[in-house]
Every structure is written in C-alpha cells, then in structure tokens.
C-alpha cells in the first residue's frame, strides 16, 4: 500500500466527516432560524432565500462546474413554476391526490424535460455559441409566455391556493412558517444532491470539460454528453426551485421566466463566487437580502446591486467566497487577528466613500423626482434641502475624504496582510 493511497484515504475520510458535520449543522440552523427571526417578514425572506439557494446552485452547475455561461436560466425556473402552479390547481380541484410539499418535484421534472429538449442542440459547444443560444431560447420562452395566455395567464399570471391539497400529516400550508419548512427541506436536499453530483464521474468530467473540452474527448468522453447531463440536472433543480416558488407565492407570472430573473441568478452566482460550491449559496443570501431589505429603504437598490456586481468583477473575480477563502492561510497561521485592527481602521473611510456615493445618488434621484414644494429629503437621519449647496458639498467632501483615507490606510493594510501571511519569512 503506497503512502499516496494512505494519504488519499485519510483525506477522503476527513472530508467526509467535515461534510456530514456541515450538513448536520445546516439542518439544525434551518430548523432553528424561525425561532430567532420570527417576524412574518423575516420568515418570508428566509423562504425566498431557500428558493434562491436552489436556483443559484442549479445555475452554478452550468457556470462554475461546467463552464457554460447561460443568460436564460430563468426559463427552467419559470416553466417549472407554471407547471407546478397548474398542478396546484388540479390538486385544489381534487383531480391529483398529490401532497402540496411534493409539488416542487413536478417543477423539477418539467425543468428536466425542457433541459433535455434544449440541451440537445445547445450543449454541442460551450462559450459564445452556448451563451447566445441560451439567450435566444429564454427570450423565445418569455415572449411565448405573453402570447399563450391560456397557459401562462398573460400579465396576471396563474394563481392558485396551496391550502386545498390532500391531508399531509395535519399541515395545510396556510401559515408562512409551514411553507418556510418546506422550502428549507428542499433547499437542504437539493444542495446535498448537487454536491454529491459534483463528486460523481459525470460531475468530475463536467469540470474536465470546463477546463479543456478537447482533451476530455481524448480520454473517452463526448464533451456534448458531459454537458448534456449537467444541463438536464441543472434544469431539474431550477424547475424544483420554480415549483417551490409556486408554493410560496401562490402566483406565478411572466416575471419568473424573463430576462431580469435570468440576470438575477447570474449575479447571485457571480457575486457569491462561481469557483466554490458554497459561492452561490452566499450570493443567494446576500442578493435576496439586498432585494428585500434594501428595497425597503431605497428605490435605487438595483443600481447598488449593479455597482456591487461591477466591483466584484473588477476587484474580486472569485466572488465573496473567494475573498473569504483568501484568509485561509492567515487563519491556519493563527495570525488573522493581526488583520482586525487594519480592517476596522479602513472600514471607516470605506464607509464614508459608500455613504458619499450613495448619498449623492439618492439626492440626485430625489431632485429629479420630487415636486416644487417638497425640497427636503431625510438621508442618514439628517434633513437635507436639495436647493441648498450644503448637503451636496457635504456629501462630496465625505466621498473625497473617504477616498483619501482609504488611500492613506492602504499601505498599512497591505503590510498587515503580508505580515499575517508570513511574507518575507515563514512558509
């Protein structure tokens, strides 16, 4: 028995123990969350996060694992949602004796079905060809959804009632908390299933085809078949998320399968980090929080999401997870605490930059939308008169001061970083 074999066996055993622990903790957290965040608003947000996690993970089967950049992943989400919605109506009529919590499976099967059909011609090549086909197909389906009013319900969409299903252990799924647990259950199951898939031959070869499709063909694998498997399964999980959406909202409209939705899932995966399995999970959490919480405070929230996306692409292409992972070496050296003070210091001018930019944007937006008699906007709890020069000058000063502060503190942070990672000596 070689040392490499022993090493691999111990690594696999260690990884398994860690994974089991992670799933167990995740399950406990999912069960416990509603006790911590018990308001109906937070329960509804957590349900949305669960749906977004499934959807974003399914998207990353294409982008991160398989190297397929899709601009139309909402098509599978939306079609799964619509079919699940119709199925819910049949259930409510008593035509299908299916318990409501199993509806996402219907969405999944529909996503799988359409993934199979579209995959037969879109997975031949990756790159631009794949991206363009995904865009075209999604546009086509979004357009059709407004034409076939009978099936898609036109602009009003299709709605139903989730409480009319057959008895399921005494739950009727009227209260949002019950829906949350259904979403949490499916999010956990889907995440485990997608993780396990990445450890199978088809999942490993998806990585190989992503890295070098040509060479994969010279070790026995058709690049098209490898992509096809990922594509179909990705369609399945997107449809599953769509079916869960149908349960949570009891209404599915054209908005679930249009380009905005396709763009949103791309942003989630990318901001979270496509190179890591948990990247899309983090992205889904942050994007959903931005969408639901930030939108309560400002109409410009989409602009901020866009800025965040641009900043991610420019400064941390490996996403927020990549940013966290960069701290791994310092964590192992137990020198992470040396970064605390520099981070705290630089966060002050950074916050000034963010507040300066955000404040100027908000003020400009307010100035363009307000009436002649309403000239005062309350920003950061300070009333600001847009006709006066003071708030503008103040925000510009805040921004410039912040930029100068960041520039001044940057060398100190870089030194601390090098120190924490043992540059010059060590390792």
């Amino acid at each position: 028995m070689s040392t490499l074999t022993d090493l691999r066996r111990s690594m696999v055993a260690e990884a398994r123990r860690r994974q089991r622990l992670t799933w167990l903790i995740s399950a406990v957290v999912l069960v416990a969350l509603p006790w911590i965040f018990s308001s109906s608003f937070s329960i509804s947000i957590m349900t949305q996060i669960g749906i977004a996690i499934i959807f974003a993970l399914s998207y990353n089967m294409l982008l991160g694992q398989g190297g397929m950049l899709s601009f139309g992943h909402a098509a599978y989400f939306g079609l799964g949602g619509f079919l699940a919605m119709h199925a819910m109506n049949y259930i409510a009529d008593g035509a299908i004796p299916l318990p409501v919590p199993l509806l996402p499976l219907i969405g999944g099967v529909i996503g799988l079905f359409f993934g199979f059909i579209i995959g037969t011609f879109s997975t031949r090549r990756a790159g631009t060809v794949f991206a363009m086909i995904s865009l075209g197909v999604a546009e086509l389906i979004a357009a059709l959804s407004l034409i076939f009013v009978g099936f898609f319900g036109g602009e009003e969409g299709v709605s139903s009632n989730r409480t009319k299903g057959p008895d399921f252990f005494g739950f009727n799924f009227g209260p949002d908390i019950q829906v949350y647990y259904v979403a949490a259950f499916w999010a956990l199951i889907a995440a485990i299933a997608m993780f396990l898939f990445s450890r199978t031959p088809a999942g490993r070869m998806a990585n190989a085809v992503r890295d070098n499709a040509e060479r994969a063909e010279f070790i026995g694998y058709s690049q098209r078949n490898v992509r096809m498997i990922s594509f179909c399964l990705s369609g399945f999980f997107a449809g599953l998320a769509g079916g869960m959406f149908a349960i949570a909202y009891e209404i599915v409209t054209e908005e679930t399968l249009n380009m905005n939705q396709s763009g949103a899932v791309l942003l989630m995966a990318y901001i979270g980090g496509v190179g890591y399995f948990i990247g899309p999970i983090i992205g889904a959490i942050i994007m959903t929080l931005l969408r639901t919480v930030l939108s309560n405070f400002t109409e410009l929230w989409m602009l901020y999401v866009g800025l965040l996306f641009i900043a991610t692409v420019m400064f941390v292409p490996s996403g927020l997870t990549g940013l966290l992972m960069m701290h791994g070496p310092a964590w192992k050296r137990r020198s992470l605490k040396r970064l605390l003070a520099p981070y705290a210091a630089i966060s002050i001018p950074s916050l000034a930059v963010i507040m300066g930019v955000g404040g100027l944007l908000e003020l400009t937006h307010f100035a363009h939308t307000t009436s002649m008699d309403d000239r005062v906007m309350t920003l950061f709890s300070i009333p600001m008169n847009i006709d006066s020069l003071l708030p503008w000058a103040g925000l510009i000063a805040l921004f410039i001061g912040g930029v100068l502060g960041v520039r001044r503190l940057r060398p100190m942070l870089l030194d601390a970083w090098a120190d924490a990672n043992g540059a010059g000596g060590g390792d």
């Binding site: 490499l4 031959p201 992503r210 060479r215 026995g220």
Partner: protein, 251 residues
C-alpha cells in the same frame, strides 16, 4: 504479423493545400514506431488524423483491423487508442490527481455515471495512484495541474495518455522542450509504459528516436519516403538527403 494501425492511401488537405498525401503505413502490434521528418512535414496532422481530431479527406485508417477514419476522438479512444499532445493539454484548474483519475474513469467502466461517487471507486483510485507513482508525480498529487513546472506538466501529459491502459499509444513529441536529464527520464518512462503495447511517436530528438524505436518512418512534405529499422534508415540515401543530412551537418 498483426497490424495495430494501418493507414491506407490517406489524404488530408486544408482547402486546396495538401498536407498528407497518399500515406500508406502498417504499424505492427507491439512495436515502437517513430515518425520523423522536417518541420511542417505533416507529422502532427498525421497524429490528429489517427486520433480523430481531424477527418481524413480520403483514404482510410484502421485500428486492429477496424476502420476508424472520421470517428470522433472519444470513439477512437474507446476502441483502444490514446494519445498525448505536443503542446501540453491538461485540465489546468483540477489537481494532478483529478487529471489522472478522469483519464481512468471511462476504461474502468464508470462512463457517465452520476450516481456513484469517485471517492468510493477503489479500483479507479488505486489505478490513479499507480500511474502517479509511475510518472513520479505522487508527491505533487494534490497541486493544481496548472501550477506544475514544465517538465512535470509533460510527465502529466504522458500520464493522462497512458492512464486508461489502452493498447495503442501515440505520443506527439513527448520530450519537446526538455533538458537532457529530463529527456532521459522520459525515455525510461516511455520504455516502461509501452512494454507489451504498440507505441507510435513523433520525435525530433534523434537520440530518443534511435534509442527507443524498433522502426522509423520518415515523413517529408506529407509523404512517407521510407519505413525501416533505425540502421537502414540511417543508411538510406534518400533519407540522408531529405532530412538526416541536414541534421548531421548541424551536429
């Protein structure tokens, strides 16, 4: 004698330009066969035709008596032929271990399985480890392949080609860009992995060619001008004129 590869009146042209012209060649099972020739003679194109990267314009290629001309690369691989590349062609973001393991999966019969986990496939993993020991990369197993040194990447390149255990192996310039001592190691590696198998290689290093090959074919402007044992090739006046003479002057 049984033939492993038979090229029968093989032609390949790109547009109006002929690259391979009327090539006939029998490669005998179990031999080590080298293809030499000046730059631009069409050696790599010939390998691309045999391995399925290019389709022949006309003529036929047989592998173990079965026609494979125009089949996609993965079909040819499944029929028992695998290859390495002149320019390193690996899975850069995956670990060295994963590179080799992926090259073992098909032959071990797991195909497109999406229900078995690779960590549970003891046969695949043991084979992977055996190959890693063989190509001397065991201590680099969990490094991303893209971070390997050049010579290590070349070793991995050969490792991927031999991992599946196919009976016919074709290597495109396995020692390209290597130092003298690295070349010697690779020659020993090739000698051991091709034991009992059929090996075809394109090679520029005449030391390697005359050291390893049982027979040599000389390709000049898309035609094979001679196929013979190393001694006879060295003595062949047409070869000397077309190729070796020029080499000899330089050395």
């Amino acid at each position: 004698m049984e033939t492993a590869i038979r090229l029968n009146r093989l032609h390949k042209s790109f547009g109006p330009t002929p690259i391979i012209t009327d090539v006939n060649l029998d490669i005998v099972k179990g031999e080590r066969h080298a293809i030499i020739g000046p730059n631009g003679a069409g050696k790599s194109t010939l390998f691309h035709l045999i391995s399925g990267r290019y389709e022949p314009t006309s003529g036929d290629i047989e592998l173990n008596g079965e026609s494979i001309g125009g089949l996609p690369p993965y079909e040819i691989y499944r029929k028992g032929l695998s290859r390495s590349f002149q320019v390193t062609n690996i899975f850069a973001r995956m670990s060295v271990y994963e590179n080799i393991r992926c090259a073992v999966l098909w032959v071990k019969g797991y195909k497109y399985s999406f229900w078995n986990r690779v960590d549970n496939m003891e046969d695949v993993n043991e084979r992977t480890e055996e190959i890693l020991e063989r190509i001397n990369l065991a201590d680099r197993a969990f490094v991303p392949a893209g971070l390997l040194a050049y010579a290590e990447q070349r070793a991995l390149e050969i490792g991927i080609a031999i991992a599946g255990g196919n009976q016919v192996i074709i290597l495109d310039e396995p020692t390209a860009g290597m130092s003298h001592s690295e070349t010697e190691q690779v020659v020993e590696l090739i000698r051991s992995v091709s034991e009992g198998k059929t090996l075809v290689m394109v090679e520029h290093d005449m030391g390697v060619v005359f050291n390893l090959a049982d027979r040599i074919s000389v390709l000049v402007y898309g035609r094979i001008i001679a196929t013979d044992t190393p001694e006879n090739i060295r003595a062949n006046p047409a070869v000397q004129e077309a190729y070796l003479g020029v080499e000899a002057d330089h050395e």
